[in-house]
């Protein structure tokens, strides 16, 4: 037993304890924030440099390529979220420490989620992450929207967790095991019990909720609008990464023998998710709701790559998640920077932003165009790779629908860009002053969008290599 494999998770747990202490000692609450960021940066450097591999606890916990790269994506997201939070989250001093602790425990849960190959461990990781997120969503105790969002998220999240757990229990009932590897082995045995199939279906429903895939997406806009914006950014970006890797572990690996059953379902879900997400985004007046629907449609695109199952499919999903982390967080960074000064999330108020704060407008331009998949930005390479993966399995119609959907999405992104670049600012506007932490976040995300767009070669190779590892040695 080599517990060194768990070192990343242990470090996070230690950071949580230290923040408790720091929060108790120092009056200035920003110190917890800085500590959060610095320690995570140290951790991510350690992870990048020292890639491990192995299994623990009879294969319940695994450190393979996917969990390695997944952790890098998650921590990147968590670090940027830290930069987004420090100067903008307006929580009373008492609860500021709790804010970072909850962020960390959510991250820890997701790290467990992407590194386990056993259903109960998966479920524990998932719950640790989502329960932390429920609390974070409602952390603005005096804000009705925040509370409403928290409650909605809690109730619907608990419901979906219940469905998921029910599915897990049915899988266990029919296979007598919760280890993914053994379930995979079981599924090669002829004569599958219908209970097993029902289990797969229930898990599929539960996962779709977490990914906010249509028709389990209805909670998304309300929660995203009500939650504090950095938390919205975190949920819509970082938790998506964990969700999709969870999906890959279950479907591209464990239930791969049943792809005749779930593949068509995901093709349909993918189409519905991107199309409905895009159509509903068009009439939105609130930027957070617009981004919420855009997030839904993005989940649809990622599913296009996902249905290309094989190594390329997995690799394209992981690459896109990395791209998406920078792109989506860039968009939210702008929303945070804007509302931090103006207190508004209405798209109308973005008029003339290019003249009020060019850096914000430029970041928004790049991130929205990257979300729409315009070269030479990261989103283009990412989407190209996703569609490539689907095409390799001959999903021509789905790919055409997806590319047309990209065009559709450009319509509402352009409406926002039009406000910023073509319209003149409203009268008596103030220049927008950005806190330094936010500027750092903007620069990191811009760099990510451009670099992954222009020089994606190495990262694509890496995702390809780690994806090969999922099928094990």
């Amino acid at each position: 037993m080599n517990f060194l494999l768990l070192i990343d998770e242990i470090v996070i747990a230690a950071i949580i304890l230290l923040i408790f202490l720091i929060d108790f000692i120092f009056k200035n609450k920003k110190i917890s924030g800085y500590f959060y960021i610095l320690s995570l940066i140290a951790l991510i450097i350690y992870i990048i440099l020292y890639k491990k591999s192995g299994i623990l606890l009879n294969g319940a916990f695994v450190y393979d390529g996917i969990s390695w790269f997944g952790k890098i994506i998650l921590l990147t997201g968590a670090i940027i979220t830290g930069f987004l939070s420090i100067d903008t989250v307006k929580v009373s001093n008492k609860r500021m420490g709790a804010y970072y602790i909850l962020l960390l425990s959510a991250t820890l849960g997701m790290m467990l989620l992407i590194s386990s190959k056993e259903l109960i461990t998966l479920y524990v990781g998932l719950e640790l992450a989502t329960v932390s997120l429920y609390a974070l969503t409602a952390i603005y105790k005096k804000d009705d929207y925040s509370l409403e969002a928290g409650i909605k998220y809690l109730i619907l999240g608990a419901l979906s967790s219940g469905i998921l757990l029910y599915g897990i229990s049915l899988i266990y009932a029919s296979t007598r095991t919760t280890y993914l590897e053994k379930i995979l082995f079981y599924s090669t045995v002829p004569g599958i019990s219908p209970v097993f199939i029902l289990g797969i279906i229930l898990i599929l429903i539960g996962v779709c909720f977490k990914l906010s895939a249509v028709p389990m997406h209805v909670w998304t806009p309300d929660v995203y609008q009500g939650a504090p914006t950095p938390i919205t950014a975190f949920i819509s970006t970082v938790s998506k990464t964990a969700g999709f890797i969870f999906l890959i572990r279950l479907f591209s690996y464990t239930f791969i023998k049943f792809d005749f059953l779930w593949l068509p379902v995901f093709v349909v879900i993918s189409f519905l998710t991107m199309t409905l997400g895009n159509l509903m985004a068009i009439p939105q007046k609130n930027i957070k709701r617009l981004l919420a629907y855009s997030t839904i449609s993005q989940a649809g695109y990622i599913l296009v790559g996902f249905v290309g199952v094989s190594v390329i499919g997995i690799s394209s999903v992981i690459f896109y998640l990395f791209v998406y982390t920078f792109t989506n967080l860039a968009a939210f960074a702008v929303v945070i920077g804007f509302s931090n000064v103006t207190g508004s999330d209405e798209i109308d108020d973005y008029s003339g932003l290019a003249q009020r704060e060019p850096l914000l407008a430029l970041t928004f331009l790049l991130s929205l165009l990257s979300l729409a998949g315009i070269p030479p930005l990261a989103g283009f390479v990412g989407k190209f790779y996703l569609f490539y993966a689907a095409m390799q399995k001959d999903f021509l119609i789905l790919v055409i629908l997806a590319t047309l959907n990209s065009t559709l999405s450009l319509y509402y992104y352009l409406l926002v860009l039009k406000r910023m670049y073509i319209f003149d600012p409203k009268e008596n506007f103030a220049k927008i002053k950005l806190p330094i932490s936010l500027k750092i976040a903007l620069i990191i995300t811009i760099a990510g969008i451009l670099l992954l767009g222009i020089l994606p070669g190495n990262i694509i190779d890496t995702t390809f290599n780690v994806s090969q590892e999922i099928f094990g040695r």
Partner: protein, 493 residues
Amino acid sequence: MNLFLNSFPVLTTIYMMPLLAVILLLFIPEKNHRAIKITSLFFTSISFLLSIILFFSYDFHRGGLQFIERHNWIQAIGINYFLAVNGINVTLVLLTGIIIVTGVLASWDVNVRPKEFFMLLLTLVTGVFGVFMAYNLFLFFLFYEVAVLPMYLLIGIWGTGDKQYSAMKLTLYLLVGSALILAGILGLYFATGLNTFDFDVLEKFKFARNFQIIFFPILFLGFGVLAALWPFHTWSPDGHASAPTAVSMLHAGVLMKLGAYGCLVIAVYLLPEGAKFWLPFVALLTVVNIVYGSLGAFAQKDLKYIVAYSSVSHMGIVLLGIASQNSLALSGAVLQMFSHGVMTGLFFGLVGMVYGRTHTRMINEMSGLAKKIPALAAFFIMTGLCSLGLPGLSGFVAEIITFIGAYRTYPVITIICVTGIVFTAYYVLRALQIIFYGKLDEHYADLKDANKIEFTALFILMFFIVAIGFYPFYIMNVINSAVGEIAQKLLMP
């Protein structure tokens, strides 16, 4: 000369120059209009000069791809950085060089947010140059999208009339086209199973007939949208009419050619069987293009709309040439791309200059302008004559070659199309007569003729029209060296 060009990556330099200017512009203060314009002009001039040198250094006896630059980029999925040019490419690169330099000159009076204007304009041109050089389909698509998107802001911010509607319409139409192209490109890639997007490899692969018949329309329509193929042309008159002068010049002059280029070099060349199956239908559509474009221009009162509709009509001639599948018609089509590019650049430039003086584009509101602005009037009349196909100017050469070639394949269709030219003659002559002759309106008593900068721009464009009209042989040799291969592939059973 070749030694000089081979000593550095000339193609990369040509498309990088505008991009370099964009980066420099970032650091020039907003208020310094002069510096912004001079920087833009300087870097685009370098591209222009290099594209002229490139054109004359291209060895048409040898033919094929020359000035090749090839580097690995994203190896896992067969994406290379692969630039090269053949006879068609050098012609179109030259066209782009001509149009961008004159476009920058024609934008000398842009004083609203000029920094952003030139940055977007030059980004656009980077994309256009890139498309005409890229021989890897991924790279091609990348440049293609870069060339399309800045248009939205250029029209939306600096346009006239119903600019936001036009800008959105144009962008969405073109991106629907590019969505189809992307799917088509991926289809080509996986059909070969060779794990490469390199054009020269794909070109040698023989695609199955059924595959060709399915994918040809996907690719052809994708590019056809940009080439204003009827019934997907409706973005074009609105877009061109609303765009600021330089953008109209670039768009009608070069970007529409980019669509025709894609139709020819990607759809027809890679999928000849599919082409043979579908092109007769395309020929029918081009009739509508030519006749409808002419009639549309005929009905318009706005000078810019007249030119925009005539572009639809002229692009119809290009597409008819492509649809005719023989080498004569194809050469004519490529020459028409070049000729129409220069001519329409001149047209839109002139319309912009006249509009800048009179502040109206309605032909009924202008009369007798020749008395006050004789130089502009002279240029305008020459261009008009070129557009109706007067011998001695480039339009005549291109159109007659295309029509002779097309007649061999589709005699009836060609005869109908030639009548389109009669309409052209009528609407051009009518518009010119109203604007420039007759009694001078008092409003316009103190108009000033073209200044030096405007004159330079017009002169460069006119030079190429006349030069090709009188001596088309060199450019025809260059074009034929590339078109021969395509025609041969179409002839093969």
